[in-house]
């Protein structure tokens, strides 16, 4: 036999064309497509990674990442007040919380620098295959967005590995021999995905800004100048944002989405990790205070253990059941702390989790101006 034919026949089976698991697929697609690129025409390619579920429910699972308060997979028992409630007293309370946050946010010092720098931690929760415990996978992400046009945008990603979630999970993991590689259930897939408990090598990369000047996605691609010049009046801000609203979700033009959840999704980024002025951040809170469909949940703890208050909206998804999208903020400063997805009605891909589970989160550790960027 020809040596090439023999070699072909000797290919290890795992290097064949088995399909990639859904979580890896979603994570890789979102990682790639969240990067900016030179655009020939209008397209939304500068969107943040957060919530970038690409093509519907099957891939949504991995993109948003999960969180808990470190020792429990359950969201803290919330003291909930509903904006939609017909009792005006409750409605005022939730609204007041957001208006207070608006005032605090508007009075934070404004800064500037060569780069807008953010550091965040993403967490995803998984049920372990063939065992009764859960693990949390973590990834640290860092970004540098240039203030000036024409430069490069930098980003780095460092996978930190998966760990058992609760003390009981830890015990179950030890009982299993403390495996360094943990198979986890990826719903809808016959084979488990393998997570590593140890950190892996990170990547740092950079790329030119889209069109040379677009820095973020805010319903549409926007420049630093657009961001810095957003209206600080809530009604004007809402009108400005809604000019990009076309009746469908931020992820797919085939998924209808009402204006309120759309505004909520877009504003989360604006509040939490975009370089807008303190006045605009305040206006965004006031805009949220006027949405009838948002809830305010007090005394929540983000995945880094920080106390905060959440403003939340429920989303009825395709394939993920009912999910609550939360923005956690610090009431004292109006500073955004985290974005979380909470399972409300588990279906399909979320069926491994109890209602109330924060199954993925992105916690912002730093967001501010700096004059330095990565050296390599």
């Amino acid at each position: 036999m020809n040596p090439i034919d023999e070699l072909r026949a000797a290919r290890p089976a795992h290097l064949g064309d088995a399909p990639v698991d859904e979580r890896t697929r979603a994570a890789e697609l979102s990682y790639a497509m969240s990067r900016p690129r030179p655009a020939r025409r209008k397209r939304r390619n500068v969107r943040p990674v957060w919530g970038f579920s690409l093509i519907g429910a099957a891939t949504a699972v991995a993109v948003v990442v999960s969180s808990t308060g470190g020792t429990t997979a359950q969201a803290p028992v919330p003291a909930r007040t509903t904006v939609t409630s017909s009792t005006p007293k409750v409605k005022l309370s939730a609204r007041d919380i957001l208006l207070t946050a608006a005032a605090k946010a508007a009075h934070q010092p404004a800064g500037t620098g060569a780069y807008w720098h953010t550091v965040s931690m993403r967490r995803s929760l998984f049920a372990v295959e063939g065992a009764g415990y859960q693990v949390m996978d973590r990834q640290r992400e860092e970004g540098w967005t240039p203030n000036a046009t024409g430069g490069d945008q930098w980003g780095s990603i460092k996978p930190l590995g998966a760990r058992p979630v609760t003390a009981a999970d830890e015990e179950a993991w030890k009982q299993a021999g403390s495996p360094a590689e943990i198979p986890v259930k990826v719903p809808g897939k016959p084979r488990p995905m393998i997570l590593s408990t140890s950190p892996r090598k990170g990547f740092t990369g950079h790329s030119p800004l889209v069109d040379g000047d677009k820095v973020f996605w805010l319903g549409r691609n926007v420049t630093m100048k657009d961001l810095r010049g957003l209206p600080s009046d809530p009604a004007e801000l809402k009108a400005w944002l809604l000019r990009s609203y076309e009746g469908h979700s931020t992820e797919s033009s085939s998924d209808p989405m009402a204006a309120d959840p759309w505004l909520f999704t877009v504003s989360m980024g604006l509040i939490i990790d975009m370089p807008v002025t303190p006045q605009v951040r305040g206006a965004a809170f006031r805009m949220l205070a006027d949405l009838d469909t948002v809830d305010v949940i007090e005394n929540v703890t983000d995945a880094e253990g920080r106390q905060g208050t959440a403003v939340a909206i429920e989303e009825h998804t395709k394939g993920l059941g009912v999910v609550e999208n939360r923005l956690v903020f610090d009431q004292a400063t109006g500073r955004g702390l985290a974005k979380e997805n909470v399972v409300v009605k588990p279906v399909g891909l979320t069926s491994a989790f109890e209602p109330g589970t924060v199954w993925n989160s992105e916690v912002v550790l730093e967001a501010g101006w700096t004059d330095s960027k990565p050296s390599s």
Binding site: A27, A32, R44
Partner: protein, 173 residues
């Protein structure tokens, strides 16, 4: 979803596992996902430049990402582990000949292995494989010819005297 994201996801679904297999065969499984991820990030950024079919182009990008991000000695070490796993693991369902071929492959210089696997495992034409490596088709054919010869020698049953590696003039004689 835009046309571009549709095109990109289709390309990803078509080629992802083959890019992964290429990276594993060059640097082991440990780093494969990161390299693949970075490769498709480049592909998205440069989508307008990606030719059809995309696979050779993607493999070329993956090759550069490997070179730029994973130090050569780490790559070698990771790959040695991978090759050991291929030839030592799962012995029960391994056919002897198959093992022999993989062991022979493991003995070859890295450059030979790359050339052979682009043809045998990736199913590329010599022209496309030359594109991945960044050399001319003629130069690639020379490298392939030499690599094939060395593979054949390495596959000779153990114990038999091995002819020395031929030099270029012998190959063309």
């Amino acid at each position: 979803m835009t046309d571009d994201s549709h095109r990109f996801t289709s390309m990803y679904d078509e080629c992802r596992q083959r890019v992964w297999a290429y990276v594993v065969s060059r640097a082991g499984r440990q780093v494969a996902d990161e390299v693949v991820s970075e490769t498709f990030a480049v592909a998205w950024r440069r989508l307008d430049d990606v030719p059809e079919p995309a696979l050779p182009w993607l493999l070329g990008v993956a090759r550069n990402v490997l070179r730029d991000n994973i130090r050569a000695e780490i790559r070698r070490e990771a790959l040695n582990g991978e090759l050991r796993a291929w030839t030592e693991g799962d012995v029960a369902d391994q056919v002897t000949e198959r093992l022999g071929v993989l062991r022979a492959l493991a003995e070859l210089p890295e450059d030979d292995r790359e050339v052979l696997l682009l043809i045998a495992w990736q199913g590329l034409s010599p022209k496309d494989a030359a594109h991945v490596i960044g050399c001319s088709s003629a130069a690639f054919r020379v490298r392939l010819h030499r690599a094939r010869k060395r593979l054949k020698q390495a596959m000779e049953p153990a114990g038999q005297p091995r002819p020395r590696v031929p030099n270029l003039s012998e190959e063309w004689s």
